[in-house]
């Protein structure tokens, strides 16, 4: 006890009611990911097939979420777009997470030159606004999935690397690591049993939040018309193409907007949940 009081639980962990995280976090994100993975097999309609007779059609039995200004099925385009909007977001995070974990741990373990290079490099990259970064890189590489992915990866790994380096350095200096080293445990074991468990909750939290941020970035790039080339479906570019009809046919904007919102919100809920969890860990440790 640091205070002359009974510890009153600060109540951070119980900010969300039980089950909330599953229902509003993991479940929607899992469904969206499944759609992104197996989308092409789920589709009954061709996302690029135009049926001008059905243009501007509101949701109906034939078109579950309606049709857009060229009479394409919005539902089908949403499913096709999930691969890009959510798929790239997740792959980008996984790639940056792996890179950041490796470089961060190396710089904490070796210190010195490795640490200097990694940290200075991440200083410069972090100072750059990430959306601007992705825009420049995809301009440089001429757009396309690869360019966006590369831009996201480049702008994101420094965050993971810094987090890993900071926590790993703290753990490596702790008594329990010193004791284990003296007892003769190898670096691999120390990494697995002493350092990784400390980093994991932070990485999970940052990773989930980064997925949400990536969905927003990708849709912004699509909105600016820098992402894919038409007619490929992407949620942001779907909105850009139909926003002028927002008053008359709101479903054309609201459907992709809803998809973006669900992905980002569920990722945020998961991220917040884990960040509340690691605050709990800090109190214990």
């Amino acid at each position: 006890m640091t205070q002359p009081m009974l510890a009153s639980s600060p109540g951070r962990a119980r900010r969300w009611p039980p089950g909330f995280v599953s229902v509003f976090g993991f479940l929607p994100l899992a469904i969206m990911l499944l759609v992104a993975l197996f989308g092409p097999w789920l589709l009954t309609a061709n996302p690029n097939r135009q049926d001008l007779a059905a243009a501007y059609a509101p949701p109906s039995a034939a078109y579950v979420l309606g049709a857009d200004d060229l009479g394409r099925s919005i539902a089908a385009r949403l499913v096709a777009g999930a691969r890009i909007s959510l798929g790239i977001a997740v792959v980008g995070v996984l790639a940056s997470l792996a890179t950041g974990l490796l470089l961060g741990f190396l710089s904490a373990f070796h210190g010195g030159g490795v640490r200097q290079v990694v940290m200075r490099l991440s200083d410069v990259i972090i100072a750059c606004p990430s959306l601007l970064f992705v825009i420049l890189v995809s301009g440089l590489l001429g757009g396309g999935i690869g360019a966006i992915l590369f831009g996201l990866w480049m702008s994101q790994w420094p965050g993971f690397a810094r987090l890993t380096a900071a926590i790993a350095a703290k753990e490596l200096a702790a008594d329990h690591v010193e004791a284990s080293r003296l007892l003769g445990f190898r670096p691999g074991y120390i990494f697995r049993a002493h350092v990784m468990p400390a980093i994991m909750p932070y990485l999970t939290s940052l990773g989930a939040l980064a997925v949400g941020a990536n969905v927003l970035t990708i849709s912004s790039v699509g909105f600016l018309g820098l992402g894919l080339r038409p007619p490929d479906a992407e949620w942001g570019s779907m909105i850009a193409g139909t926003m002028t009809y927002f008053r008359t046919s709101p479903h054309m904007v609201l459907a992709p907007a809803g998809a973006i919102l669900i992905c980002t919100l569920s990722a945020t809920v998961i991220g917040e949940y884990y960040s509340a969890r690691h605050q709990g860990i800090e109190e214990i440790a």
Partner: protein
């Protein structure tokens, strides 16, 4: 007349009584010490008097402040007495001071009038805080200095009753005399002081009255000199006996056993800053060598250098050959932090099978755990879920299972309550005598060193010069480590 009376105080949560029927009284110019171990509920007595017990916890009994009798559950009534009658010196003064205000400003804001700044500095000086620290902010102060700032604040308030919660906790124990001086000054100003502590040496030095708190109740109380000289209850007797200053000094014997570690003209430091130089000594198997010295002088760094964790800046260290692991092992100051906090302790013990010779070490563990009085169910818990004493014995068992030649124990008992400290120290002696390990005991406690160590070395320095080592084995009243 008694300024503060606590009458039949009981504090209970739903399933558990934490403090039961505690009755105390403190008069002006008197210090009453409530002495008890961690978890005895002693800190809650101060919280109850201040009205700081959360609403969900039930409090009953009466609290009489300067003749005004209040229900102990009347939190608002008690809070209205803050700074007028009651003042609290909390456990960690650094958390209680406003983080960005300078020391003199923190005192001055308590004083009305134009000359508040000058009076504040006078109050700080009265608590023996050097004027060059008066303009510092809390983060620039050490724990002991912060304690003096808090005491200065207390001394300028009108409050006649001061509650002090573990004033030596978290301080280097060689700063005990500072705390004692501060409370002496407060007592001399005619205040009534309730001192809550586990530190029997502080009580011996300071308190007029003492009350032992064991398992929620007060088991014995009375004038300090009398109670400490002839305690009536078992608990008090054990507590008093666990104070190293009451132990007989260990007789000097020549050593015939082999040398385990030798250092020759060793120079140690952190990075390029030299802390100590010209260190030449050796440790014998089966001997406890005490390393004394004030805090910050380099005792821990010397230990780390011997262990090979810090690079020596010069000279030679000769260690026994390492076979897969260091033949020297370390016992840490905070034993609950030496096991991986992310897994059950049993897992950490099991993982020893990954080590060279780990299988046979694992077979040793049950025997060693029994020897140190450790139960098996402890293995299912996480490190923060067991007590400091248990953790220290478990750490000792884990180290012994791997058959090292030498143990470097860095203040291994300074975070433990006295009765638990005694137990761990006994085990250390046993390890030297039975298992024939060389033990280097890093400590600030001269009484402890006199009682259990075969040899005593003092690390001392003049001003900014690097520290030197002096053998003080045959001068039991060696110049103190202060």
């Amino acid at each position: 007349m008694e300024r503060l009376v606590v009458d039949n105080l009981t504090i209970a949560t739903e399933g558990r009584t934490i403090v039961e029927n505690v009755t105390l009284g403190v008069s002006s110019g008197e210090i009453l010490a409530v002495l008890g171990e961690t978890g005895s509920g002693k800190s809650l007595i101060a919280s109850a008097i201040m009205g700081l017990i959360p609403r969900g916890v039930s409090v009953s009994g009466r609290i009489v402040v300067n003749g005004r009798s209040l229900d102990a559950a009347d939190r608002d009534g008690l809070r209205s007495l803050w700074s007028k009658d009651l003042f609290l010196l909390p456990q960690e003064p650094l958390n209680a001071l406003a983080p960005l205000l300078r020391a003199d400003a923190q005192v001055a804001e308590q004083i009305r009038g134009r000359r508040s700044r000058a009076e504040a500095c006078a109050a700080l000086s009265a608590m023996q805080l050097d004027p060059r620290h008066h303009r510092k902010r809390p983060f620039e102060l050490s724990g002991g200095m912060a304690q003096r700032v808090m005491a200065a604040i207390a001394s300028v308030t009108r409050a006649g009753i001061i509650l002090a919660d573990e004033p030596t906790k978290g301080l280097d124990a060689d700063r005990r005399h500072v705390v004692a001086g501060v409370f002496d000054t407060l007592r001399a100003s005619g205040r009534a002081i309730l001192l809550i502590t586990h530190d029997i040496a502080l009580v011996r030095a300071l308190a007029d009255q003492v009350a032992f708190l064991d398992e929620r109740r007060i088991v014995e109380s009375g004038p300090t000199a009398g109670v400490l000289a002839s305690p009536a209850t078992d608990y008090a007797r054990r507590y008093v006996a666990s104070d190293p200053s009451s132990w007989p000094a260990r007789a000097y014997k020549r050593s015939h056993t082999r040398k385990t570690v030798e250092a020759e003209r060793l120079r140690i430091g952190i990075d390029d800053a030299v802390l100590a130089d010209e260190l030449t000594f050796h440790c014998h198997a089966g001997h406890i060598t005490a390393l004394l010295g004030r805090s910050g002088i380099g005792k821990t760094t010397l230990g780390r250098t011997l262990l090979g964790l810090t690079r020596p800046l010069g000279g030679i260290v000769r260690r026994p050959p390492a076979e897969g692991r260091s033949a020297l092992q370390k016992l840490h100051q905070d034993p609950t932090r030496v096991f991986s906090p992310w897994q059950a302790i049993g897992r950490s013990i099991e993982d020893m099978r990954h080590l060279a010779g780990g299988e046979s070490a694992l077979r040793q563990m049950p025997v060693l755990m029994q020897r140190f009085g450790l139960r098996d169910d402890m293995l299912e818990r996480r490190p923060h879920q067991i007590s400091g004493g248990e953790a220290q014995r478990l750490a000792l068992a884990r180290i012994l299972a791997l058959k090292p030649k030498m143990l470097i124990a860095d203040e291994p008992t300074s975070r433990l309550d006295p009765p638990v400290q005694e137990q761990v120290i006994r085990h250390l002696r046993e390890i030297a005598d039975i298992d024939e390990l060389a033990v280097l005991l890093i400590t600030h406690d001269l009484d402890l060193a006199n009682a259990i160590a075969d040899r005593r070395m003092l690390l001392e320095a003049e001003d900014a010069a690097p520290a030197r080592l002096r053998d003080v084995t045959r001068s039991p009243q060696a110049p103190t480590t202060q």
